[in-house]
């Protein structure tokens, strides 16, 4: 007994539609069976609330007197796009403030607008006969704008890989703090409540479909960027009026050492048309697989450490290599529920009726990596092959002599087999001289936990290691851990010299 969308909308209008949230659906199907659930339920509401970095808004400020074509502009010192005439702009969520980069960005501008706070607009122009004004500074509120239309290129990921870190250092990523030695696992996503998980074949979710976006009644534009539904990583491009949004469903965030991002509530109401919809919306956390990837590997293709499900991740603990590791979410399940429950209320009260996609999304689409036509700069292009080393059993004055003769601050330390076992610096030697004790040989004063690089490692990754550990040189080792060269922070400058390739 299939139902038509018109029939469901008729029930919504006369207040008789039975609306449930997606997390209730598995239980209902269990109790009533699929046929029973189809008869009983008319609409299933979904919801998710988490970091959606690829978000932003088109704003129109109205014309100034005399008029200006804003070519560069800043909102509370966050740069917004000036390539669209004349008083239009797009403010993106992840742009950092030029003056408050540590904790304020585009997402905060958007939240402050929604919260009704004043925002300072600064703009510059090169001037023209039709737009003579060269600069402007003014203070504006959301209701001063003609339009504030949120258009988010990529929202509501179907699911997202979980993260851990097998390296020996804590990492600070867009997946949050990742403790060393797989000390924790972080994940994102609402699982059973996620819109696309409840319609993975994209029969109901497509262009024109009404949604909740940041608390406003918004709409799906179409497929989101990086939409890859063939791999169950579908995304949505969404839109909604910022004037209708609320900070209950839209919150700026700042990820330590990553930058600003926008936490956003997105929910899609799904019409229960037939048995297939019933089956799909009965999806449970247990049914949705998630890969745990190793962020300790700084590459696009991070190795998968384990496959789990949202049910396991939400339990708070999983097992990794025989040890219990705690898990935590970056997205808010409580707020995802609030999105789904708010949508449920809207539909029950007849404020929102449903429609089928005016254009369907491609369920077979697969994301591609970037085509790169220039080879990335490798450590071997700038490293110093002439490297002064020292044996671990040599005495400290010999280290001092070698440092002086080699005009270097770092001596890689080798054992009898010629393998790298440490690094000794001018600081270590100076300390040993200033505080004479039982330290006689290099081995007594060297740093044993050496951070190294490889000849074929991209320079950017080596630079990140220097930065992360606040050190100024990296021994370059081969597969046998023999020191074949050294990379100094100052070698990075070679990439910018004339004749160099540039980064």
């Amino acid at each position: 007994m299939d139902k038509s969308i018109d029939e469901i909308n008729r029930r919504i209008r006369d207040g008789s539609a039975r609306v449930v949230t997606a997390d209730e659906m598995p239980g209902i199907v269990c109790e009533l069976g699929e046929e029973g659930a189809l008869k009983e339920v008319d609409v299933v509401t979904t919801g998710t609330f988490g970091a959606m970095c690829s978000s932003g808004a088109f704003l129109n400020f109205g014309h100034a007197e005399p008029p200006i074509k804003m070519e560069r502009l800043w909102l509370n010192d966050v740069e917004a796009y000036g390539g669209i005439a004349a008083v239009d702009t797009y403010i993106g969520a992840t742009n950092k403030s030029v003056t408050r980069a540590e904790n304020y960005g585009g997402a905060h501008v958007i939240e402050d607008f929604v919260a009704g706070k004043p925002i300072e607009l600064r703009a510059q122009s090169s001037g023209s006969d039709c737009y003579p004004r060269r600069n402007i500074t003014t203070e504006i509120h959301l209701d001063d704008l003609n339009q504030a239309i949120m258009v988010n290129p990529r929202n509501a990921y179907q699911r997202y890989d979980a993260a851990t870190n097998t390296s020996e250092d804590a990492l600070f990523t867009y997946m949050g703090t990742l403790l060393p030695n797989s000390g924790n696992v972080t994940f994102s996503g609402a699982g059973t409540l996620n819109p696309l998980c409840n319609d993975p074949t994209l029969r109901l979710i497509g262009s024109g479909v009404p949604i909740l976006l940041g608390g406003a009644a918004g709409m799906i534009v179409g497929e989101g960027t990086q939409h890859s539904s063939a791999g169950n990583f579908g995304t949505l491009m969404t839109t909604g009026d910022m004037n209708e949004m609320s900070t209950d469903f839209l919150r700026a965030a700042y990820m330590y050492r990553y930058g600003p991002t926008l936490y956003l509530g997105v929910g899609v109401p799904l019409p229960v048309l037939d048995i297939e919809v019933v089956r799909r919306t009965a999806v449970r956390d247990e049914d949705i697989p998630v890969s745990i990837k190793d962020y300790g590997v700084p590459s696009r293709s991070r190795p998968v450490i384990r496959q789990v499900t949202y049910a396991e991740l939400k339990s708070g603990k999983i097992e990794l290599n025989g040890e219990e590791v705690r898990t935590s979410s970056l997205s808010s399940y409580r707020n995802a529920l609030k999105v789904a429950r708010t949508l449920k209320q809207w539909v029950e009260e007849g404020q929102m009726t449903l429609c089928l996609p005016t254009r369907r999304l491609d369920p077979s689409k697969q994301v591609k990596p970037m085509r790169e036509t220039r080879k990335v700069a490798l450590v071997q292009e700038i490293m110093q092959r002439k490297v002064v080393t020292i044996k671990e059993d040599e005495e400290i004055p010999e280290a001092a002599r070698k440092l002086l003769r080699g005009e270097t601050n770092h001596l890689p330390v080798l054992n009898e087999q010629g393998r790298l076992v440490g690094v000794v610096t001018t600081f270590d030697v100076a300390k040993a001289v200033a505080r004479p004790g039982r330290q006689i040989t290099v081995k007594d004063v060297m740093t044993r936990n050496v951070i190294t690089t490889l000849a074929d490692e991209p320079v950017d990754i080596a630079a990140q290691k220097l930065d992360h550990h606040r050190i100024s040189a990296l021994p370059v080792v081969d597969a046998q851990n023999q020191c074949i060269a050294i990379l100094h922070a100052s070698d990075l400058g070679k990439l910018f010299k004339s004749g160099g390739r540039g980064l």
């Binding site: 609330f49 988490g50 970091a51 904790n103 600070f172 949050g176 703090t177 403790l179 924790n184 696992v185 972080t186 919150r251 965030a253 700042y254 990820m255 330590y256 991002t261 936490y263 708070g316 705690r326 898990t327 935590s328 979410s329 970056l330 997205s331 808010s332 399940y333 409580r334 707020n335 529920l337």
Partner: protein, 127 residues
């Protein structure tokens, strides 16, 4: 109860002496030695022995203050994401049945990891 004990460089083994003399078992949650600020230990003592332990430590030359509150949680900024849960070494954070974040501040040792992990800057130190 948590006590913050400040010691001077090269002082006697005050904590060990207090344990020996009083027989009260003390748990050192966190300890720090800093060239400029001296040494500091955060210790956990049974509530009913708090006065005895702090008096004894003071008499041996340590500065002792009771840690009234752990990490400060700003309910308005918090979105109940739970990013803090897995980074905390003392399991201060958890969700209740409604997925609302609960903070057991009494277990907090003020290590500060959660402050960096919170995407919404909802966690901070007091004062």
């Amino acid at each position: 109860m948590k006590l913050l004990v400040r010691l001077t460089h090269g002082s006697r083994p005050i904590i060990a002496e207090v344990v020996r003399d009083t027989g009260i078992l003390i748990n050192v949650d966190r300890a720090r030695s800093d060239a400029h600020e001296g040494e500091e230990a955060l210790v956990d003592v049974p509530d009913d022995s708090c006065k005895l332990v702090s008096d004894k430590m003071r008499s041996l030359g340590a500065e002792v203050s009771v840690l009234e509150e752990g990490i400060r949680h700003d309910r308005d900024e918090c979105v109940d994401c739970g990013s803090c849960i897995s980074v905390c070494p003392k399991e201060v954070f958890s969700f209740n049945e409604e997925f609302v974040l609960e903070v057991a501040t009494r277990q907090c040792i003020l290590c500060g990891r959660c402050i960096l992990a919170c995407p919404h800057q909802a966690l901070s130190l007091n004062g």
